[in-house]
């Protein structure tokens, strides 16, 4: 799970990243609001944790920018030492999914992240056992994918990539996001690895409009797996 943290206080950054890394999240820290808004057109994250007071633009302005410019509803938790009821209400009205008053507490933070992700990604397939999507049956435990009941031969990474795309059906995922989830964080890998595997997976799984699927490459960003209606096929 990829988390963007917008925070300028080094002590807070140390604390939040330690807790989240130890809980299995991949953290990406931004210390300036504009640094995050510049990254968003080419990056994707599963969750945002935004501080209010920053050296350039405020976390409130970043949230407003995100809600106006990012197509999908990205889950946002606002964290700040401001504890006035008016501030909390204003940020929730502005589109934050939750609000935590600092100082943060580890168990509460992790539980709220979990709750926000549950609410905003309610229908992620495959979190509990095998799942079926159209002609595909995916069994994460036995690491197999069947299409129309026929097992498809996949490498480990192809399988991981397919599951990640199926679970994020309809979401625009950056190459970095895909790379990190499937291959982990490694300085020796580059995003071309993603392009190669996506192309191979498209062909192996038949993710084409004739079959009711579109695995779209988005210039300078990444990929989105879409399920399309049969009638849309002829409009492509």
């Amino acid at each position: 799970m990829r988390v963007a943290i917008l925070e300028d206080d080094p002590a807070q950054i140390d604390l939040i990243t330690l807790w989240l890394n130890n809980a299995g999240y991949n953290c990406h820290v931004f210390t300036y609001g504009k640094e995050l808004t510049r990254a968003l057109p080419r990056e994707s994250f599963d969750l945002f944790i935004l501080d209010w007071e920053l050296p350039d633009i405020s976390g409130a302005e970043v949230l407003k920018w995100m809600r106006e410019n990012v197509r999908e509803h990205a889950p946002v938790i606002f964290t700040t030492a401001r504890d006035r009821e008016e501030d909390i209400a204003a940020m929730l009205h502005a589109g934050a999914d939750d609000y935590l008053v600092k100082p943060l507490r580890k168990l509460e933070l992790l539980a709220r992240i979990d709750a926000v992700l549950r609410r905003t990604r309610a229908s992620r397939p495959g979190d509990e056992g095998p799942f079926t999507l159209a002609e595909f049956t995916v069994d994460v435990e036995s690491r197999t994918i069947q299409r129309h009941g026929q097992a498809i031969e996949l490498t480990q990474k192809d399988f991981d990539l397919a599951v990640f795309l199926f679970r994020n059906l309809g979401r625009l995922l950056s190459r970095g996001h895909i790379l990190e989830n499937v291959w982990g964080r490694s300085p020796t890998l580059n995003t071309r690895t993603v392009d190669t595997h996506v192309s191979r997976l498209r062909s192996k799984l038949g993710l084409t409009p004739e079959n009711g699927w579109r695995l779209v490459a988005i210039y300078q960003h990444g990929y989105r797996l879409e399920q399309i209606q049969k009638e849309e096929v002829y409009a492509v």
Partner: protein
């Protein structure tokens, strides 16, 4: 010498706490110098930051005194802000940590 104040901290934070406390000391010196220059706004910001982070590391007293610094600086009361910073200095002197 004041009696030690024993605080139990989650062992997970052992790697971060020494640096955090060093930075608190540095913040206190910074508050003292900004107050000497009548720069209450910088003192307020540092107090705000201490308020927001102390409890997360397990030091509720740092949060309490940070809030006192912030409130005093916001009210334009440099003496009260300096007194809260001095109390924070004394607290750090007396602090003994047990990682559990």
């Amino acid at each position: 010498m004041a009696d030690p104040i024993i605080v139990r901290i989650d062992r997970e934070l052992e790697v971060l706490v020494p640096r955090f406390l060093d930075n608190c000391r540095r913040d206190i010196r910074l508050i003292e110098s900004t107050l000497a220059k009548k720069d209450l706004d910088t003192a307020r910001k540092i107090g705000h930051s201490l308020k927001g982070v102390g409890g997360g590391y397990g030091f509720a007293e740092i949060t309490r005194l940070g809030a006192a610094i912030e409130a005093a600086a916001k009210d334009g009361d440099g003496l009260a802000a300096a007194a809260a910073a001095s109390a924070l200095d004394a607290y750090l002197d007396a602090l003994q940590i047990e990682y559990v």
